[in-house]
Symmetry: C2
Subunit: 90 residues, 2 copies
DNA sequence: TTGTATCCCGGTATTAGTATCACGTCCATG
DNA sequence: CATGGACGTGATACTAATACCGGGATACAA
């Protein structure tokens, strides 16, 4: 076992992350946003449903651009309460 | 063969992305930043050298938090090729 | 009813990310 | 010179993300 098998909280973070994206999608259809972001509808669905808890950075960036949401806010909303934000002693 | 085998410009984007992270790391050591971000040094090295052109979103988020850089700026600096790929022939 | 459009889920296939191991190198220190 | 730190690279292992395929359910219009 060499790779980290996705912690439970990572799964939950993925669900929350997908919920944020779905909320940002609003009334627009998945096909609409997926096409705008340049990803497949299946991928968008998996991310929104949390079945893809840790999507690629540029995938999220494209979705964020298509949805008009900030990546920093997304990361902040999902990464809070985790050591991912440590090291800010600067 | 169903997955997109990473376009050449995606590879270049990954190199540029890694260069940005390395620049943001400054004089700090890889071990330092990798530990702060919660990723392995090898992963950070691969991302910086561009051998991992499309890292995970939260990995980038952790690195961005450890380095004190904005995810939006990172995506903007590298993701501009997203829509530019339509007319980018070079 | 039929047709269309949206959403949703299962499986499948391939690539890619992440982590560990082992090697070598450079530089600074003892 | 020897040692230790950090950097770099190659190989290896395993999980995960992405895309494609088929299915289904619901809602609305013709």
């Amino acid at each position: 076992m060499v790779r980290t098998p996705l912690s439970p909280w990572e799964r939950r973070r993925g669900e929350h992350f997908g919920a944020l994206l779905r909320a940002a999608r609003g009334d627009r259809s998945m096909v609409e946003v997926a096409a705008a972001a340049g990803v497949s509808v299946e991928t968008l669905r998996k991310i929104e449903t949390g079945r893809a808890p840790t999507p690629a950075f540029f995938t999220v960036a494209a979705l964020g651009a298509a949805l008009g949401v900030s990546l920093d806010e997304l990361a902040l909303a999902c990464g809070r309460g985790e050591e991912a934000a440590e090291g800010m002693s600067a």
